[in-house]
């Protein structure tokens, strides 16, 4: 791993890109502190923080005791006193104890004190299914976080996005929950320039333009969504694919612009259907874009069941075929 932040573009995995962004942030800003379980000498269970303890020392790359509530709460005090903590939760399955601190403190210290104190902190966590992980390791609960006022929620879908969005999250003056689709950690490489350029936290990315239908997704489900777009192209259906990326706050302009153009829209997410963010997006389209709709807004999501153990998880996760079928229904609508 090259520790020179000025190095030029390299083909990196998402794990390497995140590592590079952390390295860049720690180099440019001494107040950036990493903490979490096994982030030090072990480099994190996914090796995301690999080598950082060697270059930045154990003071700035800190293994915590096994205490998630604390991993949520300690950064509140640390950030309020001028540091920029980046805390890792080892798997989303263990993130729930931090919700208390997110809702009651991190998200609102600024407003409670009318701007006197604030919490520029980042909570990182891998999430999502598809890698045959043990019980409790495969859920996608981003919607719980996106409902909390006062925080941002960001989900990268590729190495370069992970690099740029994580830098933006660390530099952001408010708390950011940064959720990493672990199925993408090593599944593809992408050229990443370590130039310190952040990506905006209020923009969606159009991954593929199209005229007939808008496919909206984020994180690892973009793999299935893009695969569906390929299948659709064979049927001469031209799909526009949008990567929401900043699930809070939504770049609704980009979404609405696309739906205005295509008149049809399918939202795809891995999280359970009910109360998932597909609902939020569909609701805004149904409010502000109703007149442009040529077909109902479909949501293809995880079923409303507990995430199954690995043997059956492929039957839980939305497949390209499910997406294609939904698009066909939209194309055939009246």
């Amino acid at each position: 791993m090259n520790s020179n932040p000025q190095s030029s573009g390299k083909e990196l995995t998402m794990v390497e890109a995140i590592n590079l962004a952390l390295r860049h942030a720690m180099t440019e800003d001494e107040t950036v502190i990493l903490l979490g379980e096994d982030v030090g000498i072990d480099g994190g269970v996914f090796r995301v923080t690999d080598g950082l303890i060697n270059d930045f020392g154990a003071e700035r790359v800190r293994d915590t005791p096994l205490s998630e509530a604390l991993i949520g709460g300690l950064p509140v005090g640390l950030s309020a006193m001028g540091f920029r903590p980046v805390a890792e939760i080892q798997f989303m399955g263990f993130i729930y104890p931090i919700i208390d601190q997110l809702v009651n403190h991190a998200s609102r210290l600024r407003t409670r004190t009318r701007g006197r104190l604030s919490c520029p902190l980042v909570i990182r966590a891998p999430f999502g299914g598809g890698i045959g992980a043990p019980e409790h390791h495969s859920e996608s609960m981003e919607a719980l976080f996106a409902h909390i006022p006062g925080i941002r929620v960001v989900i990268p879908s590729s190495p370069a996005k992970a690099y740029g969005l994580l830098l933006a999250s660390i530099r952001d003056p408010d708390p950011v929950v940064f959720l990493e689709p672990k199925r993408l950690y090593r599944s593809e490489r992408e050229s990443v320039f370590d130039n310190g350029d952040a990506l905006p936290l209020d923009q969606a990315f159009v991954l593929r333009s199209g005229a007939d239908v808008t496919l909206i997704s984020w994180g690892a489900m973009l793999t299935e969504t893009l695969a569906a777009a390929d299948l659709l192209a064979q049927e001469s259906v031209s799909a526009e694919v949008i990567d929401v990326a900043s699930v809070k706050f939504l770049d609704f302009e980009t979404i609405l612009g696309s739906v205005r153009k295509t008149g049809r829209c399918v939202i795809i997410h891995e999280a359970p259907l009910t109360g998932g963010l597909g609902g939020e997006i569909a609701a805004r389209i149904a409010d502000e874009g109703l007149m442009h709709l040529l077909a109902p807004i479909a949501r293809i999501a995880g079923w409303d069941v507990v995430m199954p153990l690995p043997r059956l998880e492929s039957h839980y996760l939305p497949s390209p075929n499910r997406i294609v079928a939904a698009v066909r229904r939209a194309m055939d609508y009246c």
Partner: protein
């Protein structure tokens, strides 16, 4: 069988309920002026409390948690702190906040339902009151880590109740304070009750100080109605934290003489006799006795001081009541450092609603 670890919990006191010194007094406690200062803060705190309750009873303040009977804890600990230290108070430490330089008006503003009350003009790094019990313990270790990393000689001081010691985040915070040697002092104001739950039902532990044993840090008890020993113990703990980065847990034994808050009715769950008995040990009378006996404190000095405190509280209450309200749209303005696009839109909607509703009249407050 071998014995692999041994512990003991010690309890300290300086001045007993009759005002008698029961141990060698620390140097500051030989100084009449210092004692009067501590006394004045406690009297002011109590006067403030009374006024706050009156304001609540007359509909001019929200639910309020009185510190009646526990004034020595807040005053003693805050008096021991340096300006650059950071206080992380529970919702009952008005005395500590006053000593730290939060104004009485700001405290009233907070309890009156106005966020500006936590934008302290005085101790700019102090944390706002923490309503979720024990949650501030985690912030305290975070702040302490910040001080340690920046090599600042500052200490974080968290104040918690006896009930708070049953919470997981209290324990996780204590544990990391020990594991990382953080400059933090936890003061448990053990007022014997957590709303209706008596101390004995909260835990089978014989003392709350021994919660420190689980974290491998120092834990000790003090008579929390004795402002001198509170100040001394906190001072010593601060010194250890400041110079040795060693955390400490201090259990201050006191008693909640009031209802839990203005919406509570303690007679539902505890006997008057218990409360009366504890009036015998309350902190203000005992220091007064000591001042009279040892330092020739006079009736005139007493009435002057009481009057002064009353006047100060009057003034603050008047200022609080005269404060004009925040504009409604400020509910948007501090949620983020800068307003995200979708909030700009929502803020516009609110302004439009206000304009509609309001034809030249003032918004209801």
């Amino acid at each position: 069988m071998s014995i692999v670890a041994k512990f003991q919990i010690e309890c300290f006191s300086c001045i007993d309920a009759d005002g008698h010194a029961v141990a060698e007094l620390p140097e500051f406690a030989l100084d009449r002026d210092v004692l009067i200062e501590l006394y004045r803060w406690m009297v002011l705190t109590r006067a403030f409390d009374e006024r706050a309750i009156t304001l609540q009873r007359t509909g001019r303040l929200g639910t309020y948690a009185s510190s009646l009977g526990q004034e020595a804890v807040g005053v003693g600990l805050a008096h021991a702190m340096l300006a650059e230290d950071v206080l992380l108070p529970s919702f009952r430490e008005h005395g500590a906040q006053l000593v730290r330089g939060v104004t009485a008006g700001e405290i009233l503003q907070f309890w009156g339902g106005d966020e500006r009350g936590s934008d302290f003009s005085g101790p700019r790094s102090d944390f706002p009151v923490s309503i979720p019990v024990a949650s501030q313990a985690a912030h305290a270790v975070g702040a302490a880590l910040a001080f340690k990393l920046s090599k600042a000689q500052r200490v974080a001081v968290a104040v918690l109740g006896d009930g708070a010691t049953s919470k997981g985040d209290f324990y996780e915070s204590l544990n990391i304070a020990g594991a990382w040697n953080l400059p933090v002092v936890f003061v448990v104001a053990n007022n014997q009750w957590a709303i209706s739950v008596p101390r004995a039902d909260q835990t089978a532990a014989a003392t709350l100080a021994q919660k420190a044993v689980a974290a491998g840090i120092t834990g000790l008890q003090v008579d929390g109605n004795d402002v001198v020993v509170v100040r001394k113990a906190v001072s010593d703990a601060l010194e250890q934290a400041r110079n040795g980065s060693r955390p400490c847990l201090i259990e201050a034994l006191t008693y909640r003489l009031s209802d839990h808050t203005t919406v509570d009715d303690a007679s539902r769950y505890r006997d008057d006799e218990e409360v009366s008995a504890h009036w015998q040990a309350e902190p203000i009378a005992r220091l007064r006795k000591h001042l009279i006996a040892v330092h020739g404190w006079t009736k005139e000095e007493e009435s002057d001081l009481v009057e002064l405190c009353a006047a100060e509280v009057d003034e603050s209450a008047d200022a609080y009541l005269a404060e004009s309200p925040q504009p409604p749209e400020t509910i948007f303005d501090y949620t983020y450092a800068s307003l995200p696009q979708s909030l700009v839109k929502q803020r516009g909607e609110l302004l439009a609603l206000l304009k509609d509703a309001d034809n030249g009249t003032e918004h209801e407050q």
